[in-house]
């Protein structure tokens, strides 16, 4: 799996309280700490989990972002957007 930077957002929002607070208060600054492509960064800022999932981010880590109310996501919005993604292949190409 690639997209380590995106996945680490979902990791740190659970395990790193300082990062969690920064992500809620100033997401641009929080994301500056990470190695992200322009596409990944734009999708994160937009809470666009449809695109992040298609790019290969792990859904368990994406859902943590919504559960912690960051990047404009809440559970209902997350549900709507992830349903729009459609299932991914079992193994990334």
């Amino acid at each position: 799996m690639s997209t380590y930077g995106v996945n680490s957002v979902g990791r740190r929002v659970v395990h790193d309280p300082a990062f969690r607070e920064l992500l809620r208060a100033d997401p641009e600054a929080a994301l500056d700490e990470l190695e992200l492509t322009d596409e990944e960064r734009a999708a994160l800022m937009a809470g666009d989990v449809t695109t992040l999932y298609r790019l290969g981010a792990h859904e368990y880590l994406l859902v943590s972002i919504a559960l912690h109310g960051a990047l404009g996501l809440d559970p209902k919005l997350f549900s709507e957007r992830i349903r729009a993604a459609g299932p991914r292949r079992a193994r990334p190409a």
Binding site: N7, G10, V14
Partner: protein
């Protein structure tokens, strides 16, 4: 040596406290009662970590903890305070050493915190957290998963190692997880963060378990099949490992909860270990 199967739904700690007469609360109580009859000295738990103990910087396919104790949950599970759980370092070391000797390349873990996938079952089954537990981790959530045959064979090897261990231990082998479940992926139900997309697979698995047809289930649980069911369907690998450890017996108790896509079961607990 007996086996148990329970789910680890995070919010059940809160939900079932408010609904003591619910089917899931009854099932947990039934499994707990049978587990207490065995009076296990140790629980060996086949568990799929949810990227909380491990992460993508270093993700083992199989791992075993050889520790005196561990803590958890480390993932903000509702209704759960952090607890320290005793483990059995000697048995963990034996599973690591003899497991590698037997061709199962288990990663060694000498310090860890676990997530809700272990702490929710313990909350319901051993609420005093007094029974030592040895976690054996199987990657069931980040493709590529180990094959069902490999997970089942790992369980068989762990069962042999436990039986050959010099100390005479009464051991319960726990599998925790769901059978038909999607969490946070495209197949969640509308407005929800989870769904149970493939009830027919759930029915089929339960039928195979009741008939003791574990070998056939192992053959059917291909990577493609599990991926098609839901993104949590790989937790079946923990169940197959548990069945390998206890010798593919038929369950004494098995109750599916189709709405949630999981099941509760016990195997051979009444045999006195």
């Amino acid at each position: 040596m007996g086996g148990v199967l329970v789910p680890h739904t995070p919010y059940f700690t809160v939900k079932l406290a408010a609904e003591p007469e619910s089917a899931d609360a009854r099932c947990f109580a039934a499994v707990r009662g049978q587990l207490e009859e065995l009076r296990p000295d140790v629980i060996v738990a086949f568990d799929c970590d949810h990227l909380n103990t491990f992460f993508l910087d270093n993700l083992p396919t199989f791992a075993v903890a050889a520790v005196n104790r561990f803590g958890g949950p480390n993932d903000h599970s509702p209704g759960l305070e952090r607890r320290v759980v005793p483990s059995h370092r000697g048995l963990g070391e034996a599973i690591h050493e003899r497991g590698v000797d037997a061709g199962f390349d288990l990663a060694l873990v000498q310090s860890l915190e676990v997530d809700h996938s272990i702490m929710v079952p313990l909350h319901f089954l051993t609420p005093d957290h007094e029974v030592p537990l040895v976690p054996v981790f199987v990657n069931g959530l980040v493709p590529p998963l180990p094959t069902a045959g490999r997970a089942h064979a790992l369980g068989r090897a762990v069962g042999q190692i436990v039986r050959a261990y010099p100390e005479d231990l009464r051991v319960a082998v726990m599998a925790t997880g769901s059978i038909n479940l999607e969490v946070g992926g495209p197949r969640v139900s509308e407005g929800e963060l989870w769904g149970a997309p493939d009830p027919a697979w759930m029915d089929h698995v339960v039928e195979r378990l009741r008939a003791g047809e574990v070998t056939r289930l192992v053959e059917e649980a291909t990577a493609e099949k599990l991926a098609s069911v839901g993104n949590v369907a790989g937790e079946l690998l923990c169940l197959l490992a548990m069945l390998g450890a206890i010798g593919d017996a038929r369950p004494d108790f098995l109750e599916p909860q189709p709405y949630f896509g999981h099941a509760y079961g016990t195997w051979l607990l009444g045999e006195g270990g």
